[in-house]
């Protein structure tokens, strides 16, 4: 299998008043092309922080200290990765929502309450697919020009077409220039001699300075009355949004686009969030607990939808959840996390059949499976405070098989058999 995204030794800290919260303690994970990858753990174990670090959207007191996030999106050259932690913010913006997109927990708070559904879904079309949208608008304009014989209307429409053409030309110019700078940047990256460094710096400055829109377009976007041609793009976006919502099985999409989030039920809100994430056909979809606040019947609907989309549209899904039932149902491969550490990575079948890490074993035993009269086994103690995490293996204070070495030394990830690795001293070769 080919790698799609790889995170290496990610370390993220949060600088709070109480102290430094060491949220991620060297997390490594690999998402392969075409798989559904699960990330499980209790709340506060760093599941969300790891994907947020991978998307570079860790919020203010948080900081990614070290590590690498390598993308292998290049179709032609799969082996050449891009370390996105080193790239500029502008580059990240072109990736977020376009190549990697994210479904957030709690759809109700992820949506903006004062913007209509149509606007929120269409936003990513306008941002990442403006060129296509303009093309669509031009197409409908062409039709109208042919139909209508009134010369005044014709003139007005032809004028709009001209303005749209301006924007397209401008986008083309921007695209060629940015690609050129990026390829130059790639060449100078990692070189240490002073000349290359100088050039690298200059290129970065140029990249930041490069305006997406030229003077002509900026003027036509700002001048009253003339700027009304933008409505033609918006109409095209609206059509595209309705098309997308229909694909996702939202009933009555023509009506929904003009509504606001509070008018919809929880399941429907989640569908809208999914449609925003899917707008630009992402290569990787990150789903951060997409079903944890929904009813079981609605959860089944949403899981079914993600499974279908996986077949038709997106190549890989990174699925975060705390529900082991959901993991068993939807994932191919799973990583179990505990207090900022990865404990175990395995295929779903292996993980449920023969868990290796003591934490995974405890977790699986504490899930009610529905044997009547069974006594649930528990993991004694609680999740540690990450400001002063336990030394060595972070699970050792709660571990039933604790040894002397666990208290002092952090276990390394050991490859046990094909695709099954575990970070525990129990399995170290003697």
């Amino acid at each position: 299998m080919e790698k799609l995204v790889e995170a290496e030794e990610l370390r993220t800290n949060f600088y709070t008043f109480e102290g430094v919260v060491k949220a991620l303690n060297g997390v490594s994970l690999v998402v392969n092309n075409g798989e559904t990858y699960g990330l499980v753990g209790e709340s506060g174990c760093g599941k969300s922080v790891s994907v947020r670090s991978m998307m570079r959207i860790v919020q203010a007191p948080g900081k990614i200290e070290e590590g690498k996030v390598v993308l292998f999106f290049n179709e032609k050259d799969r082996n050449k990765g891009i370390d996105i932690l080193k790239r500029s913010e502008a580059y990240m913006q072109s990736i977020r929502g376009n190549d990697i997109s994210m479904i957030f927990q709690e759809a109700g708070t992820a949506l903006n309450p004062v913007l209509s559904i149509g606007f929120q879904v269409g936003e990513s079309f306008l941002l990442h697919r403006r060129g296509e949208m303009i093309k669509l608008a031009v197409k409908t304009l062409d039709k109208k020009i042919d139909e209508n014989s009134n010369s005044l209307f014709r003139m007005w429409r032809k004028f709009h077409k001209r303005l749209l053409q301006n924007e397209t030309d401008d986008l083309e110019r921007y695209k060629t220039e940015i690609v050129k700078i990026d390829s130059d940047l790639y060449r100078t990256e990692g070189k240490t001699d002073s000349k290359s460094l100088e050039k690298h710096k200059r290129l970065l400055v140029n990249r930041e300075r490069l305006n997406k829109q030229g003077l002509k377009v900026r003027l036509q976007l700002k001048t009253p009355i003339i700027r009304r041609y933008v409505r033609r793009i918006n109409a095209a976006v609206r059509e595209k949004v309705i098309e997308l919502l229909t694909d996702l099985g939202v009933p009555n999409p023509g009506n929904i686009v003009d509504r606001y989030p509070h008018e919809l039920s929880g399941g429907m809100q989640q569908r809208i969030v999914i449609s925003i994430a899917l707008a630009c056909n992402p290569t990787l979809l990150i789903a951060d607990e997409p079903t944890s606040n929904l009813d079981v019947t609605i959860q089944a609907q949403i899981l079914d939808l993600i499974r279908q989309l996986k077949k038709t549209q997106i190549s890989s899904v990174l699925f975060i959840t705390h529900d082991l039932g959901v993991v068993a149902e939807i994932c191919d491969r799973v990583t179990v996390m505990y207090a900022g550490d990865t404990c175990e990575t395995a295929s779903v079948k292996d993980l449920f059949k023969e868990p290796m890490h003591p934490y995974t074993k405890g977790l699986l035993k504490s899930v009610p499976k529905g044997e009547i009269g069974e006594k649930l086994q528990t993991i004694p103690g609680t999740v540690p405070n990450l400001i002063t995490p336990p030394s060595g293996c972070r699970f050792h204070p709660r571990c039933p098989d604790v040894m002397e070495i666990c208290k002092s030394q952090k276990p390394e990830m050991l490859m046990m058999k094909d695709g099954h690795s575990v970070a525990c001293h129990l399995y170290r070769k003697k």
């Binding site: 079981v296 019947t297 609605i298 079914d304 529900d323 499976k369």
Partner: protein
């Protein structure tokens, strides 16, 4: 567990008025609980499941007199003969019995209680809320939180109170060191333990568990569930366990009542319900649970659409727009909750045919 009935709910309704227009005229009702019958036996744990918005929490809170019922009777620990007498009068009585009915209802029906009688009732009925971080006062010490019901009912004072609080904390697995702390210093599981200790403070007979584990992690959830089970055995408690997590219900309850849009759909002993659900809604609900076993081959029944609006519920059987077995009769006639033997009840016209 014996067959003595502790709580007897008859024809309970809870409507919330919807007002509109310039004069805030009463235009419609949200039918949160619509004519529900339920008997809870002494010492049992009965689960109440359903999707959000189906009225399960409203039913529980009406039972505790946290909401006032719109219609219907609730008898808590009343002699059976007297209940039957009153029910007979209500169904066949004429105008001359009006005074008698009123007298009996004030005596038996907890929806009509007031004053001293209501205060005594509150001691026996307690509740544990969903999210412990919202249900504990952040400005009170744990010992004050747990002792509050005792002080409110003037049961104990001073040293005795302190000793009782400590005893309560010890029953839920906390200790003396936790007494002088504030809720924010505890983890979610410990907070829920404090909430449980508070519910136990007045020696209740009946506790309403309103999704007590939905805000907790799996490993902590298991601890709390074990604790609840132990407490029930040791203190001879009766639980009404409201939740939407069906596996939790399966673990802890003896019987399960399934609600949909304010109506009871099915009441059945837990083992039988999971073995052979009768109502199509129960079937869909059970098949939708994600099973923590990657090799399970359960066929999923995926319901389309959402729960309809309870202001204007569908005609006939309320489940018919989402039911794949629905026929004409389901659209026109509302099914009764009929007894089908071995302690099971189901409200469906076609339950026999679809087995």
């Amino acid at each position: 567990m014996n067959n003595e009935i502790l709580v007897d709910i008859r024809g309970l309704r809870k409507y919330y008025p919807v007002k509109g227009g310039v004069f805030k005229k009463h235009i419609a009702d949200v039918k949160a609980v619509d004519s529900v019958d339920l008997q809870i036996k002494k010492g049992e744990c009965i689960g109440l499941v359903g999707e959000s918005g189906c009225g399960k929490t409203t039913l529980g809170k009406t039972l505790l007199r946290l909401h006032d019922a719109s219609e219907g009777r609730i008898y808590f620990n009343q002699p059976e003969e007297k209940i039957n007498e009153l029910e007979n009068l209500l169904s066949n009585g004429n105008a001359s019995d009006h005074g008698e009915i009123r007298k009996l209802r004030n005596e038996l029906d907890l929806t009509k209680f007031s004053g001293k009688k209501l205060l005594d009732l509150r001691k026996k009925l307690q509740i544990v809320f969903q999210d412990p971080s919202n249900s504990l006062n952040p400005r009170l010490l744990v010992k004050h939180i747990v002792g509050e019901p005792i002080v409110a009912h003037k049961l104990m004072k001073g040293v005795a109170l302190e000793a009782r609080v400590l005893e309560l904390l010890e029953t839920v697995g906390l200790g003396k060191t936790h007494m002088m702390r504030y809720p924010h210093e505890f983890s979610g599981g410990q907070r829920q333990r404090i909430a449980i200790a508070r519910a136990l403070a007045t020696n209740p007979e009946f506790i309403l568990m309103d999704e007590p584990t939905s805000a907790l992690d799996v490993s902590v959830q298991a601890q709390i569930l074990n604790l609840l089970k132990d407490l029930q055995n040791n203190l001879d408690l009766t639980y009404l366990f409201v939740t939407h997590h069906l596996l939790v219900v399966k673990y802890i309850t003896n019987r399960i009542a399934v609600m949909y849009l304010g109506k009871m759909m099915e009441i059945s002993p837990t083992a039988e319900l999971f073995k052979a659900p009768l109502h199509p809604y129960t079937k869909a609900l059970l098949s939708a649970i994600p099973v923590p076993d990657p090799e399970s081959q359960v066929e999923k029944i995926i319901l389309t659409g959402d729960v309809p609006n309870p202001i204007d519920p569908p005609s006939g059987c309320r489940f018919h727009p989402r039911c794949k077995y629905a026929t004409n009769i389901c659209k026109k006639q509302e099914p009764e909750l009929e007894d089908v033997g071995s302690g099971r009840k189901v409200a469906c016209h076609r339950w026999k045919e679809i087995q």
